[in-house]
């Protein structure tokens, strides 16, 4: 194996695998931050560190790296890169060099994020970077700005690349109505990235302008407004939830259709109503993050309605998922366990989000552990389970080898138990005793101590589960048994080439017939 060919590669599969390696590394670092925070919180008073600013840096690194360094790059970097050209029967993406640029900019962004642990005055601005704190802190806000800017730019050029690829490079006969639903999900995610990431980039640029160049965008004394930042930030960062959600639900669709051996139920409603609806509404709900920042009542009510409204397209997608299972010949291999786990976790996360959409309830729940538990269920854990399930699902295609099925299932169940211990408890103490989030210590809430202790144990369990999965992949890639080209028996195009696919993917470009569909499973 030639290292230079990997580093300078422009091939979409290798770029994808580079994305996977980088994002899993970021996941490991951000996961360690989470474990450090959990260890700190396991008892009242200082346990791991006596310096609350250190805790703030962990909190910043955990959130920023998990979202910007792990979930978005794994979903829109790795899965999009690896799967989309294969699924649409293309030799590569439209702009292979731009693709290489986006993966290396992603690595630069991750390097910047990791510099947090090595530089003096690391950023301590959470992943949100709210002014006025971010413009007056002694921490290095510029590092945060550049991390977000560079990862954002990588994302934008990736989006341009994939939208062009799918529009112009589909195999002959592969019409829009025959695309894998994952491809539609990625298209929706990238349209949102193109519209919303520039706004985030501008917002974080303006805080560095304010801090280092002396501008007054967010300085009330000089005619600025901190709410400008909150609006710009959440104008991206709420849709970011759907940028994560759509690809991960797309992965889950592919897995469930394959292991239920059914076509996607209600494909058109899922694509036009579900994905299209989310893209349309995603830009109109960000203000619900500002419910307690101060706004007129009419705006609160309007935001409540649009926030609740977005559960309609999301519901369409969930109905399609469950309908795909109906009367299916279901088998429970490891990817399927993860996919069903996503449906379960996402339902809990989604249903516990309804109280947060309703203004009368959210003013009480806001800034408590309940919120943290909710968004970890709906986005963090559900998304991560989908990523792990997807890596298991396409593992034989990528490596040509098979992982260990028993350890795969053990890893799943350990993680599944761990996440439910942590995040259910989190919602519970948030709702019952109103434990405020983000704090370094909780001496005023001694009744939370036993729950905090339990969550630390749960975090250790889920950490073990993820490590089992990672080891399973490494060992499987090195010495697993040969998997064959199509171990799952899926008619989708990516399984029609050899495993692992060569440069160019097929000896000659594939074309598909009138009757073909990525979900036309034979009976078994």
């Amino acid at each position: 194996m030639n290292l230079k060919e990997w580093i300078f590669t422009t091939d979409h599969k290798r770029v994808g695998i580079l994305y996977l390696i980088g994002s899993i590394a970021a996941f490991g670092v951000a996961g360690i931050m989470a474990l450090l925070m959990r260890a700190e919180l396991s008892a009242i008073g200082p346990t791991v560190t006596a310096d609350p600013t250190t805790y703030n840096v962990w909190l910043y690194a955990h959130g920023a790296i998990m979202i910007l360094g792990f979930q978005i790059p794994a979903l829109t970097g790795f899965f999009a890169n690896y799967c989309i050209p294969l699924m649409i029967g293309a030799k590569d993406v439209a702009f292979p060099r731009v693709n290489a640029l986006s993966v290396w900019l992603f690595y630069v962004g991750v390097i910047l994020a990791l510099l947090t642990f090595f530089i003096p005055d690391p950023p301590d601005v959470l992943w949100t970077g709210y002014p006025p704190y971010s413009t007056i802190t002694a921490g290095n806000t510029a590092l945060y700005t550049f991390t977000v800017l560079i990862l954002g730019f990588a994302s934008i050029i990736g989006g341009v690349n994939f939208l062009t690829t799918v529009a112009f490079m589909r195999a002959p006969g592969l019409t829009w109505g025959k695309l894998n639903i994952f491809v539609w999900c990625i298209l929706g995610a990238f349209v949102m990235q193109l519209i919303f990431v520039p706004v985030l980039g501008s917002a974080v640029t303006l805080i560095s302008f304010d801090k280092y160049l002396g501008t007054h965008f967010f300085d009330p004394a000089m005619g600025g407004d901190v709410l400008t930042y909150q609006n710009l930030f959440w104008f991206y960062s709420h849709p970011a939830v759907y940028v994560i959600f759509l690809p991960f639900i797309g992965v889950v669709f592919e897995i469930i259709a394959t292991f239920a051996r059914n076509p996607v139920f209600n494909y058109k409603a899922a694509v036009y109503g579900g994905i299209g609806g989310i893209v349309l509404i995603s830009g109109e709900v960000w203000i619900h993050h500002l419910y307690v920042s101060g706004m007129p009542d009419w705006l609160r009510i309007g935001q409540m309605v649009s926030t609740l409204l977005i559960s309609v397209p999301v519901g369409l997608l969930v109905i399609s998922l469950v309908g795909t299972l109906y009367k299916g010949a279901i088998s429970f291999e490891t990817p399927m366990l993860y996919a069903l786990g996503v449906v379960f976790l996402f339902l809990i996360g989604g249903l516990t989000g309804i109280p947060l959409a309703i203004t009368a309830l959210t003013v009480n729940l806001s800034e408590t552990y309940y919120v943290v538990g909710h968004f970890h269920y709906v986005m963090a854990v559900a998304g991560t389970f989908a990523i792990f399930g997807g890596v298991y699902y396409w593992f034989p295609k990528m490596s040509g080898r098979m992982y260990n099925e028993l350890w795969g299932k053990i890893g799943f169940w350990v993680t599944f138990v761990g996440v439910n211990i942590v995040f259910w408890t989190m919602m519970d103490i948030g709702a019952r005793i109103g434990l405020p989030r983000r704090y370094y210590d909780y001496a005023q809430f001694p009744e939370a101590a036993s729950a905090q202790h339990l969550m630390t144990i749960g975090a250790a369990i889920l950490g073990v589960g993820f490590v089992i999965a990672l080891l399973n992949w490494i060992i499987g890639a090195a010495k697993g048994p040969k998997a064959g080209d199509n171990p799952w028996g899926s008619p989708s195009l990516e399984w029609s080439t050899v495993s692992p696919p060569p440069h160019g993917n097929w000896p000659s470009p594939p074309s598909v017939s009138e009757e073909w569909s990525p979900y036309a499973h034979g009976r078994r």
């Binding site: 590669t9 439209a94 706004v199 501008s202 280092y212 005619g223």
Partner: protein, 258 residues
């Protein structure tokens, strides 16, 4: 990668397996050039180490310029002609950046400000922005003319009108620099007040786009002089230039004449 990959490449018609995987060093070089620029900013403004900042700039700028030049000479004329459509998506993203800056402006002016313009604002020139507008519009027309000549196969005419476009873009930047210099000399800076913040941020943002447009032209000019003229490249570059021109109307109307 496993042996299965090689098996197919055998059936491919005797390709050497090592040549089959496409590579390019330039994306890697540019990315780390960007890292050096970020480091330069932090050395200068966060850690106040100007010497280290200069070193980082000295590394980053050649890496990015060299990377772009290498990329263009490697790729010019080898694309599949899809860049024109892709530029449309990229322009959507660019437009959102300008929208964000304008949104910050509208928040300040319409929501927060009691009086506008705030104290400390000096009167802006009235005539110069009109001249700048005329120059930029003219450059949009000249690049259109150049594209037309390229299309009919007149390479010499194409290069002449391209050079005129570059000259007009440079003149625009020159007038902008003159104006900035003048205003800063009068004590009106980016830190003076809310309007100074907006004025320099928005015109600076637009100016940086003019600069990028000129860079795209210059990067393609060298291969073009040697006769390597890619129609897809120049149509895409022209589209970007028209976008920069159109955005200027919003800048000039929002910032200068409102």
């Amino acid at each position: 990668m496993g042996h299965a990959a090689e098996a197919v490449q055998h059936g491919h018609g005797g390709h050497d397996g090592h040549e089959a995987w496409g590579t390019s060093v330039w994306p890697f070089v540019i990315s780390f050039g960007v890292l050096a620029l970020a480091a330069a900013f932090m050395f200068q403004f966060v850690y106040h180490k100007p010497f280290a900042a200069v070193i980082a700039l000295g590394l980053g700028i050649p890496m990015i310029l060299g990377g772009v030049a290498g990329w263009v000479s490697e790729a010019m004329g080898h694309g599949e002609g899809l860049s024109f459509g892709a530029m449309g998506w990229f322009i959507l993203a660019e437009a959102m950046i300008f929208m964000s800056f304008f949104a910050a402006y509208w928040f300040m002016r319409l929501d927060v400000a009691q009086v506008w313009p705030p104290a400390g604002t000096v009167p802006l020139p009235r005539v110069l922005p009109l001249v700048m507008t005329a120059v930029l519009v003219a450059s949009s027309l000249t690049i259109h003319r150049a594209e037309h000549l390229m299309h009919v196969g007149d390479q010499g005419g194409f290069i002449r009108w391209l050079l005129v476009t570059i000259a007009l873009g440079a003149a625009f930047l020159g007038m902008s620099a003159y104006e900035w210099n003048h205003l800063i000399h009068d004590g009106f800076t980016i830190a003076t007040n809310a309007f100074g913040t907006i004025f320099f941020s928005v015109t600076g943002l637009h100016g940086s786009h003019v600069l990028v447009g000129l860079a795209i032209f210059l990067a393609g000019l060298v291969p073009a002089m040697k006769g390597n003229i890619s129609e897809g490249y120049w149509r895409t570059a022209g589209l970007y230039w028209h976008f920069v021109d159109i955005i200027w109307f919003f800048v000039v109307s929002q910032v200068y004449y409102w």
